[in-house]
């Protein structure tokens, strides 16, 4: 599949069909995959694809808006929904992006993999998708690990493994099975089920850790505001010091802003250097929005986002 991808990129760059292509490459060590910007045909051989290609690259199309030509992008099924939302939210025109879909059969959560293997990721040389399991090379040994042990949480409940509205595709998704009896909203419901005090304690502990590096915001496709409300000085919504209450405000307000736009790509949680389980916050909103307003982000170009829409008979608990 990598060959096919590289050939396609060489061709598209050669035709002038796009100015550059955004995919993945290996970083400083084999298990470290980073975004790769291919501006020249000669660099196309750096492109890779595999279960460690975690990033949602959609955010990068925003900075390509000033280009004269198009930008090409490798998207997994989940990430494709960000493109839909960006088009819907008037941030890009669909025909300015060359969407290359890639069949994804699940991504690896490096933290889970480290635990299962008992060795740090730096010793992992390769991870290959093999249907219901991953083939993981550690040193000279190849180990088979069931997907259910090491999949990213979001992949368990993947509803959209196939690319969505692509210009080119690298293949079809092969069906695969995952054992396990967890449900999509388990983590959210577990928290919902706790007494209020415990929920509070849980989140306070999370928010307290936040160093406000803004990585969750910067990586998020939906955070495309020219000037973030948190960066405004008149008025100043948020004090700069990362005190607990400021951090809590930051995360709650961000959640409110992303409500109905979050496509659950999981980037915020993945990049958080202090492991705040932001996914749970966003999953909660996703759950409520589905239940209350019957809406899922990123699925269609022509639906109205739920918080700028209403029904006359919306639930009304407010007396």
């Amino acid at each position: 599949m990598e060959d096919k991808l590289q050939e396609l990129v060489v061709e598209l760059l050669g035709d002038g069909a796009m100015e550059y292509f955004i995919g993945y490459r290996q970083g400083f060590e084999p298990s470290h995959v980073v975004p790769c910007f291919v501006t020249d045909q000669s660099e196309a051989d750096r492109l890779i694809w595999g279960p460690l290609c975690l990033q949602n690259l959609s955010k990068y199309v925003l900075q390509a808006r000033d280009l004269d030509g198009k930008v090409g992008l490798l998207v997994k099924g989940c990430d494709a929904r960000a493109i839909v939302e960006l088009v819907k939210q008037h941030q890009i025109e669909r025909d300015r992006v060359v969407v290359v879909g890639v069949p994804c059969e699940g991504q690896v959560d490096p933290r889970k993999l480290e635990q299962v293997l008992g060795v740090p990721m730096e010793q992992v040389i390769d991870v290959e998708d093999a249907g219901d399991e991953f083939l993981v090379t550690v040193g000279s040994e190849v180990r088979k690990i069931g997907k259910e042990q090491v999949l990213r949480d979001k992949c368990f409940f993947c509803k959209h493994p196939a690319s969505f509205d692509y210009d080119y595709t690298l293949g079809e998704v092969q069906p695969f099975t995952i054992d396990g009896d967890s449900e999509e909203y388990d983590a959210v419901e577990k928290l919902e089920g706790l007494p209020l005090e415990e929920r509070r304690a849980f989140w306070q502990k999370q928010f307290e850790r936040c160093i406000r590096c803004n990585a969750c915001r910067e990586v998020c496709y939906g955070c495309y505001c020219k000037e973030c409300i948190f960066d405004r000085t008149a008025p100043r919504w948020l004090d700069r010091p990362p005190l607990l209450r400021e951090n809590e405000m930051y995360h709650l307000i961000r959640a409110v802003h992303l409500a109905g736009r979050c496509i659950d790509c999981g980037e915020c949680e993945r990049v958080c250097p202090v492991n705040i389980p932001l996914g749970r916050l966003y999953k909660k909103l996703q759950k409520d929005i589905a239940e209350l307003f019957d809406y899922e982000a990123g699925m269609e170009y022509d639906t109205v986002p739920p918080l700028v829409d209403f029904e006359l008979d919306d639930q009304d608990p407010f007396l």
């Binding site: 306070q204 209450r245 916050l281």
Partner: protein, 155 residues
């Protein structure tokens, strides 16, 4: 940060509650309560907005974060909005925000939305009474790391 009245829990604790009231219905309802001399607890402070849909959720989060004990958003009854549709947005935002705040452990009583029309002076008074008592029963909105007590560093 805390005023004398909201310093401590227990006896003598007086919650401080921020109320947003839409100009056309709820603010008028509050005026009517006044004209009718309906007596109520003195814990609410009204900010007048033209429509309840002007109340951005950030205001609610900010107010609670800054230590106010509760936020009450009042609007026209659904269907009666002066601008036809505003309070429908208030309703959706309110639903979601209420759930979100509860999810992170903020008592649901601290953020409430109610519909009060221009003729419902009595309902306004009752609402103020109820919400005040509910929040009084909860006690002070525990500050998230007060200014002086912040323990910086040690990360």
């Amino acid at each position: 940060m805390a005023s004398e009245s909201s310093d401590e829990g227990g006896n003598g604790y007086e919650p401080k509650i921020l109320v947003f009231a839409c100009n056309w219905c709820s603010y008028a309802g509050a005026d009517l309560a006044g004209v009718s001399r309906l007596q109520m607890p003195a814990n609410c402070r009204i900010i007048r907005v033209m429509c309840s849909a002007r109340v951005r959720p950030e205001f609610v989060v900010t107010a609670l974060s800054k230590g106010l004990d509760g936020v009450l958003v009042l609007g026209c009854h659904p269907g009666d909005c002066h601008y036809s549709e505003g309070n429908y947005f208030t309703r959706r935002r309110g639903l979601l925000l209420k759930n979100l705040l509860q999810f992170v452990g903020i008592e649901p009583e601290r953020f409430q939305v109610r519909w009060v029309s221009a003729s419902e002076g009595a309902k306004f008074a009752d609402t103020v009474e109820q919400v005040t008592e509910q929040i009084r029963a909860l006690g002070p909105n525990r500050p998230r790391s007060g200014n002086q007590s912040a323990e910086p560093g040690d990360r």
